[in-house]
Each structure stands twice: as structure tokens, then as C-alpha cells.
């Protein structure tokens, strides 16, 4: 047990950003050879799994449920060790209040974050930010803010940071769902150039499914918590199983389909938004085509004129002022429509899931009631 904890201590002493690989005072004893490959100062070992601590699981669920809007988000703290990103703590961030205070809001958030990290460090909690979490409903987590935040993190954080998405509606249905993502290299490249024109999308081969890549995630409970939960969930006396602190719950077996209407509405809304966005895009591209045609016509005309002038022995007129005369608008960004498509897909996927489990439950109930009749 001594070896990994020392490695963890070493990793903890390193600054989160790979920029300042300060020569840490070599007061540690020699690193055992078994652990030497896990020491990773420059963040060379790629992350292949994210490990979420039980504490973070409950914290995220609580925050997501209590937050007034559906966009509860906060920061994840932890360490990476030998390809495993261990997330051991998290804290919620205050909500934005209106857009006009965005500048002020981001400053308060930065202050909040800094003082929270300082405070956590004092009680020996992990204090290096490894990513953030975001609550969502019905699986649609694609939005501009998420991508912006993750893009900033990917630049700043060790290993680029990850985002954990927690689906509120899934959890309410009885299947607590956590997924970890990070931006793909192709999307990140396009994002850094802030170029989402058609040509750029084609060259990066971007569709909505290639914006984020999923990182495998597992949940971990530490031994102390496991034993504690075991004691709490255990029946109070062997005779009465009902008196445990955790009653069994069967919300998963609910036959009702209350959420479906909302889900359908959201699909319709998303499709509607996508249609508007497509309309805007095609309007813009028509405008571009018109301007370009005008410019081309002008150039052709000028060339013709020049030929005539040359034939008459006159000096040709200049041709380079086209760009000044015709302002061809820049090609519109297709990011928004890409995100909307992703949202439609996510909503439809969650609807599909609900429908299929609904079928399963219906047949299950039918089989159950049929079986009763047979036995009678």
C-alpha cells in the first residue's frame, strides 16, 4: 500500500498544468521500480478510463436535482495515475444570472473556484481540477457552453480534462447514468481555428457523432464506504427484511409512459430549431452565391472591356478592386446546425430507449398476468 500512496503523493505535488514542471525537491525516497512507469510528470500516459468516486456520484445527483435550471454544472477534482483518472471530489459552481452580467459572473466564478480549491486543500482533499460535470435531461447535452468550457479545459488542464454528463431523466427512471467525454482531435482542431465552414467540416470529417469521444467510466466505492453502506443497507434483524435503511424500490418496473410526451415535444422543438437554422444557412449561402455571381460578372465585363481597349491600343483598366467593390460575406458557421442535429439524435435515442424498455415491461406484465390465469 505504501507504493501507490507515495506515487499519489508525488502526483499530487505536481502542478496541474504541464507548463510548470518545476524541479520538485527530491526529498522522496527512491521510487520503487514497480511504480516508476506510473510516474507521469509530462502527462504522457494516455487516459483510458475514468473512475468516479461514490461521493462524487451523490454530489452530482443532488446538485442536478436541486438546481433551479437543468444546467447544473460544477468542477471535478482528482488525480490521474497510470492511465486511470480518479475523480475523488467535486463542487458545484454558482449559476449565471442573466447574460448582461456574464463578464462579472465569470469573475465571481473564478474567485469562487479559487477559494474553494484553497479551502479543500487545507483539509487534505484533492485540489487539482480534472474536468467538469454537466447535468442534462433526456440525453441532449450538446450545447455551445459545454463545448466552449471543454475546449478551454482541453487547452489548460493536464490530460485535457474530461466532462462528465449526468442524465437526470434517466436517473429518475431508475438507471443512474454517468458518462465521460472529451473533444475529439478533429473537432478541437476545427474549434481552435474557429472555422466551421462546409469545407472545414469535410476536411475534418465532422458529424455530430464525432464531436465528442466517450471515455469508459466506472464507479468506485472505497472500502470504508462499502462497509458502511453494507451495514446501513443490511436488514435490521434477520426476521424482518423490510426494516433496512434502504427499502427496495421498483420504480423501474413502472408501466406508465409519462415522460414520452415531453420527449416528443422536445424532438419537435429541436427539429423546428434545426429547420430555422437550415433556413438561415441556405439564405446566407444564396446571398454568397449572388454576390459572387455579381463579382464574377463584373470581372468578366472588365476583362472584355480591357480586351477591347487593348485592341484599340489603350492602357487596360485595373482589375484588382473587385474585392473592395463586392463584399462577399464569409461562409456561415455550421456548428450550430451540427449541434442541433446532435440534440435531435440524442432525444430520439432516449425516446427509442424508453419505447424499447416499455415494450419489454408490457410483455413482462402480460406474461405475469397470463401466468396467474394458468395457475388458477
Amino acid at each position: 500500500m505504501a507504493a501507490p500512496s507515495m506515487a499519489a503523493a508525488l502526483a499530487a505535488s505536481l502542478p496541474a498544468a504541464p507548463v510548470a514542471a518545476a524541479p520538485s525537491a527530491p526529498t522522496y525516497q527512491a521510487i520503487p521500480s514497480s511504480m516508476s512507469k506510473a510516474i507521469d510528470i509530462e502527462a504522457d500516459i494516455p487516459l483510458n478510463i475514468v473512475q468516479l468516486d461514490a461521493l462524487v456520484v451523490t454530489k452530482i445527483i443532488k446538485h442536478a436535482r436541486e438546481a433551479p435550471s437543468t444546467t447544473a454544472h460544477g468542477l471535478l477534482l482528482g488525480l490521474d495515475l497510470d492511465g486511470v483518472l480518479e475523480i475523488s471530489n467535486s463542487f458545484p459552481l454558482p449559476q449565471h444570472h442573466g447574460d448582461n452580467e456574464a463578464e462579472k459572473g465569470s469573475k465571481t466564478i473564478a474567485r469562487h473556484q479559487a477559494s474553494m480549491l484553497r479551502s479543500l486543500k487545507e483539509v487534505q482533499a484533492d485540489d487539482s481540477v480534472v474536468g467538469f460535470y454537466q447535468a442534462t435531461t433526456l440525453g441532449a447535452f450538446f450545447n455551445q457552453t459545454l463545448l466552449d468550457t471543454q475546449a478551454i479545459h482541453q487547452d489548460k488542464l493536464r490530460h485535457g480534462g474530461i466532462v462528465i454528463v449526468h442524465d437526470l431523466s434517466q436517473t429518475a427512471k431508475g438507471n443512474a447514468s454517468f458518462r465521460a467525454f472529451r473533444l475529439t482531435a478533429a473537432f478541437f482542431d476545427a474549434y481552435k481555428r474557429s472555422n466551421f465552414s462546409t469545407a472545414s467540416l469535410i476536411s475534418h470529417r465532422l458529424t455530430f457523432s464525432s464531436i465528442l469521444e466517450e471515455v469508459p467510466l466506472k464507479i468506485r466505492t472505497n472500502p470504508l464506504l462499502s462497509s458502511f453502506l453494507g451495514t446501513v443497507a443490511e436488514p435490521a434483524t434477520p426476521q424482518s427484511t423490510g426494516a433496512s435503511a434502504l427499502d427496495p424500490s421498483f420504480s423501474v418496473l413502472e408501466l406508465g409512459t409519462a415522460g414520452i410526451t415531453r420527449n416528443m415535444e422536445q424532438i419537435v422543438e429541436a427539429v423546428e430549431a434545426y429547420r430555422t437554422e437550415e433556413g438561415n444557412l441556405s439564405y446566407l449561402s444564396r446571398q454568397i452565391a449572388r454576390e459572387r455571381a455579381k463579382a464574377d460578372a463584373y470581372v468578366a465585363k472588365r476583362k472584355e472591356e480591357n480586351q477591347v481597349r487593348i485592341a484599340q491600343g489603350l492602357a487596360p483598366l485595373p482589375e484588382e478592386d473587385v474585392a473592395r467593390l463586392f463584399k462577399i460575406p464569409p461562409e456561415p458557421s455550421r456548428l450550430e446546425s451540427l449541434l442541433l442535429l446532435g440534440q435531435i439524435d440524442a432525444y430520439a435515442k432516449s425516446l427509442e430507449g424508453t419505447a424499447s424498455t416499455g415494450l419489454l415491461k408490457m410483455y413482462g406484465a402480460k406474461a405475469g398476468s397470463g401466468g396467474d390465469k394458468d395457475s388458477e
Binding site: 451523490t58 443532488k62 436517473t171 427512471k173 447514468s177 462546409t198 466506472k218 446501513v232 424500490s249 423501474v252
Partner: protein, 300 residues
């Protein structure tokens, strides 16, 4: 839902106030605790320094009538020696402000301590927290982590009242109050996830879990319950056991519910609806996919 061994907690019933003109804050008679608070306490206990015997921290929550809902907690620095005890009050204030900003509904309701010892220092710290929560009384939640031999893990909660001829901060009686685990129904699945993870030998579980798997688990547990009921009923029928009228009534209420409302036509129309939705969802997904791919297509 109790979270500890059977206790001698006092279930207080406040008598009607003798003097209605002076509304004294009620003494809490029931305390509920959210899993987040418990887990934070355990985490803090794990991260204590070697010299620390116990850890303490602040409990945040909501006061109702005469019930206190502990919603979350944070660790507070403190040091105990043979001569003195010190709590980092500045740290406590900063943390409270940070928490308050995110969740303004939660206020300080008391403090927690690990271990099961109540001593003079507990009384002193209690005195400090009583000032923080004034005019409401502060509560103490004592979490026994169960790591010492012969100690069972569990949670107990106390309120305090002064004792002695003269009230002194280091003298007080801790009166146990009942404490329960409480969480919202929607958070239930998260807790299930954790208990099932804790039961695996590796203490880890992969995500995401398929819906079908969870349904299967529930059905299996229903099945085992039915089996138990069946064996009980058969035992009663054959005369091995004496039937309990109360249980019989419960069983009749539960199992007597007719499944007739799931009659044939209802089933079929519901089936058609579900299939339609499934078809629609698939259609939307393929459309979205095609649309995204078309954007990538180049003219030949």
C-alpha cells in the same frame, strides 16, 4: 428509515408553549440526513491526518417545523490536544459563504463528529455551533465509522441542553434524537448503483448500465419476494406455522389488485403506440444521420 442499530433515542413531543407571546424556537424532534452529507463525512474521515483521532465539520440543511433535514456537510479544521481544542472559525465562515452562494436555502444546522466519544471538547464545540445557529439549537450528528473493533457503524444525532447550577460552556447534556436517512425518490437509483457497486468484490462497476439489466434485477428481486410469500403461505396452509392476520390482510391488499385493466384491447393499442414511437424515434435518428453525412458530401 433508521440508519443505525436500535437506539434509545428519545422521541420528544413538544408540549404546547406555555407562553404563546414568546415564540421560542422549537427543539428538533427528528433529524433526517441526506446521503451526500454522510458520504462527505466518511470521505473526510479517510483523509484525516495521522494525528487526528476524529474529524469534525459543519452540517448544512433546512429546518422544518420540528424536523431538521441535513442536506450537506463540509469539513472544518480543528485540533485537539490534552489541554485545549481549537476550531478554525475563519475557515468555517469561508466555506459556509462558498456553499451558501451555490445553495442559498441551506443554512448551518449543527456539526458532525466521527467516533462515538462525547467529551468536554464536544460540549465546547457544541457551544460554538450553538452561537452559529442561534436562536435555533444546534444539533450534533455523530458518525460511527465502524473501523474500531467491537463498534458497529451507524449514525446517532444529539441535541444539547445546559446542565449544572451555573450554565458553563463545557457542561452540557447530549440528548439523543432519532435520525433517519432521507433522499428524494429520483436519487434512489444513484444509491442503488452505489450499494450494488459496494457489493462487488472489486468495489467498482462499469458504466453505463443497460436499462434491461436493471429491469432484470428488479424482476428477479420481485420473484424472490413472491417465492418467500408463497413459502410462507404454504407453511400456514399446511399448519406448520400459525398465520398472522395482519400479514394476511397485507397480502390480500397487495396481491388482490386485479390485472384485468390490462385487458386485451388495451394491451394491443398500447403496443401499437409503443411500436409507433419506436419507429418514429428510429426514423428521426436516421434522418439526422443522413443530414449530417450529406453536409460532408462534395460534388463529384
Amino acid at each position: 428509515m433508521p440508519v443505525g442499530p436500535p437506539s434509545s433515542a428519545i422521541h420528544l413531543h413538544t408540549a404546547a408553549s406555555a407562553d404563546p407571546s414568546q415564540p421560542t424556537p422549537r427543539t428538533p424532534t427528528n433529524i433526517t440526513i441526506h446521503p451526500v452529507a454522510l458520504l462527505s463525512i466518511l470521505d473526510h474521515y479517510l483523509r484525516r491526518t495521522e494525528t487526528q483521532e476524529r474529524v469534525i465539520g459543519t452540517l448544512l440543511g433546512v429546518r422544518n417545523e420540528n424536523e431538521i433535514e441535513v442536506r450537506s456537510s463540509f469539513a472544518v479544521l480543528h485540533s485537539e490536544t490534552d489541554e485545549q481544542v481549537a476550531v478554525d472559525m475563519e475557515y468555517h465562515r469561508t466555506m459556509y459563504e462558498l456553499h451558501h452562494k451555490v445553495n442559498p436555502k441551506e443554512v448551518i444546522v449543527g456539526w458532525y463528529s466521527t467516533g462515538f466519544n462525547l467529551n468536554t471538547y464536544s460540549a465546547l464545540i457544541q457551544n460554538f455551533y450553538s452561537q452559529e445557529t442561534a436562536p435555533h439549537p444546534a444539533i450534533l450528528v455523530s458518525v460511527n465509522t465502524g473501523v474500531e473493533e467491537g463498534q458497529e457503524a451507524g449514525v446517532t444525532a444529539f441535541i444539547s441542553s445546559p446542565v449544572g447550577v451555573y450554565p458553563k460552556p463545557e457542561n452540557c447534556v447530549f440528548v439523543p434524537v432519532p435520525v433517519e436517512l432521507r433522499f428524494h425518490d429520483a436519487e434512489r437509483s444513484g444509491l442503488d448503483l452505489l450499494t450494488s457497486t459496494a457489493a462487488t468484490p472489486s468495489l467498482t462497476s462499469p458504466q453505463p448500465v443497460a436499462d434491461v439489466e436493471i429491469i432484470e434485477r428488479s424482476i428477479l428481486s420481485v420473484q424472490s419476494m413472491l417465492d418467500r410469500v408463497l413459502s410462507y403461505v404454504q407453511a400456514v396452509l399446511s399448519g406448520e406455522k400459525e398465520g398472522d392476520a395482519a400479514i394476511g390482510r397485507y397480502l390480500m391488499d397487495t396481491l388482490g389488485a386485479a390485472t384485468e385493466d390490462l385487458e386485451k384491447s388495451g394491451f394491443n393499442s398500447s403496443l401499437q403506440d409503443t411500436l409507433m414511437i419506436s419507429y418514429l424515434a428510429n426514423l428521426v435518428r436516421s434522418q439526422a444521420e443522413v443530414s449530417a453525412r450529406l453536409a460532408l458530401a462534395t460534388a463529384p
